[in-house]
């Protein structure tokens, strides 16, 4: 038995057993699988289920993708992911399926997507015993300072924030550009100055 598991934006919409030789997919009601999706053509694709299972683009406007690559016609293997418009079809072949092996029903990592250029950020000690040293901010959280006073820089996506630190042994909170930080996260910009535990640091973004 072979099946298709149909998902839209990560939510499973239905499961379709491939019990006949040709199963059509499209927006029109005449199809076996009807997708209410403006990016899907009237008749968009067909699954051909014989000894093996194939997927074929029926000259659709937006085409179909198999595991992230645009294709015209291909044989399917267990676990393959076919993208039709904004819908995804996971092909499950129970004959092959090893009951124990976990399969993820989700879009694969987009291999052709241009990889984001990672932003490199660091803080350089401008005043204090370790003047001139740099700390590279390559983790989600980086601690600055010592037991007497601490600050944490948080990385969120491509931005860096000085996290609010309240209460406890701190007494005074660290300073950003000469002002004590309050209860809000502060977005850091290039050349911002941070004062913590008697040390001054400069935030640096390398483009």
């Amino acid at each position: 038995m072979a099946r298709l598991i149909i998902t839209h934006q990560g939510t499973v919409i239905k499961e379709y057993d491939l019990s006949k030789e040709k199963v059509t997919v499209g927006r029109k009601p005449s199809n076996d699988i009807i997708l209410d999706d403006p990016t899907v053509s009237g008749l968009h694709a067909a699954f051909l289920h014989m000894q093996h299972t194939y997927v074929e683009d029926m000259k659709s406007t937006n085409g179909i993708k198999l595991n992230g690559k645009t294709i015209n016609k291909r044989q399917l293997s267990h676990g393959d992911l076919v993208q039709i418009g904004q819908h995804e079809f996971k092909f499950i072949d129970d004959a092959v399926q090893d009951f124990e092996s976990t399969v993820v029903i989700a879009p694969p990592t987009q291999e052709f997507k241009e990889t984001k250029k990672p932003i490199k950020a660091s803080v350089m000690i401008t005043q204090g015993p370790k003047q001139g040293e740099s700390i590279i901010l390559n983790k989600p959280y980086t601690k600055l300072g010592s037991a007497s006073q601490v600050a944490v820089i948080a990385r969120r996506g491509e931005s860096y924030y000085l996290m609010p630190m309240t209460g406890g042994a701190q007494g005074e909170s660290p300073k950003l550009n000469g002002k004590q930080i309050g209860a809000e996260s502060m977005l850091l910009g290039h050349a911002d100055l941070i004062d913590v535990a008697g040390t001054q640091l400069k935030f640096i973004i390398e483009e």
């Binding site: 399926q97 124990e100 990592t109 209460g167």
Partner: protein, 253 residues
């Protein structure tokens, strides 16, 4: 003198290949002094599954290491739910990066469940179908929700819990770390009580053994968590042991 904000915990964990698999793709770790407990169940061809699960656990541990140092954890008020969320997102980024730069690891992924005990609460996070149960006052409750096809079908009313138990679709998960650039992480904070026991487990336990049997095991072994972990792993193997099985038990003292 500041108060130690990590509650007093007793932690025991165990991971086992099971009876069928020839290698273990699960990975478990904990840092008792920080109140941090993590379990991951990897997947992917060749040996990539264990690469993914180990990366998940080590990245989360690394990401949290500095913010969980006593000078911060015990003295500062922070949004630990966000901190945990960001640590899991970081692990997802690192696993993706590793897949891209190591062709033999393409397609690998992993589930993750974690618990961070802080003050009078625990912050739980999960992605995939590994689980956290809480045993409190003679009751066992699953406190995470599986990201699996079966669970979605139950949630949408297509399937009953009983039907789910026998479904052949139990191995299909809807979320994992390392399979896409974006990941949706469930994060929740729960109040803890003295004598609570938290069980983190991979599906090697929960697919083999019913909740009732897990409950009976904990009733029997709750005074001795080391034996408790051994008992749960033995239970999974007695009921087939088809998959790797991992458990971590945490008791709040």
């Amino acid at each position: 003198m500041t108060k130690n904000k990590t509650p007093q915990l007793e932690i025991h964990g165990l991971t086992d290949e099971g009876l069928v698999r020839d290698h273990n793709e699960d990975y478990i770790s904990w840092v008792a002094k920080s109140g941090l407990v993590i379990l991951a169940d990897g997947m992917g061809g060749h040996n990539a599954g264990e690469v993914a699960s180990e990366l998940a656990v080590t990245c989360i541990t690394d990401a949290l290491e500095e913010v969980l140092s006593p000078d911060i954890k015990d003295t500062c008020e922070m949004d630990f739910e966000e901190v945990v969320h960001e640590a899991v997102v970081y692990a997802n980024d690192e696993i993706n990066l590793h897949s891209k730069t190591h062709p033999e690891c393409t397609g690998m992924g992993t589930t993750v469940v974690m618990a961070l005990f802080h003050s009078d609460s625990v912050i739980l996070a999960n992605v995939g179908d590994s689980r956290i149960y809480r045993f409190r006052k003679g009751e066992l409750q699953q406190v995470t929700s599986d990201h699996s096809l079966v669970q979605e079908m139950i949630d949408n009313g297509y399937m009953s819990e009983d039907e789910a138990q026998n479904s052949t679709n139990r191995n299909l998960i809807t979320r994992a770390l390392g399979i896409a650039e974006e990941v949706k992480v469930d994060v929740a904070r729960h109040a803890i009580e003295k004598d609570d026991i938290y069980l983190l487990c991979s599906d090697g336990l929960s697919d083999m053994v019913t909740d009732d049997l897990i409950f009976s095991s904990l009733v029997k072994t709750r005074q001795n968590l080391e034996r408790g972990a051994e008992d749960l792993v033995a239970l999974a193997k007695d009921h087939g042991g088809h998959d790797n099985v991992s458990v971590i038990l945490v008791a709040c003292k």
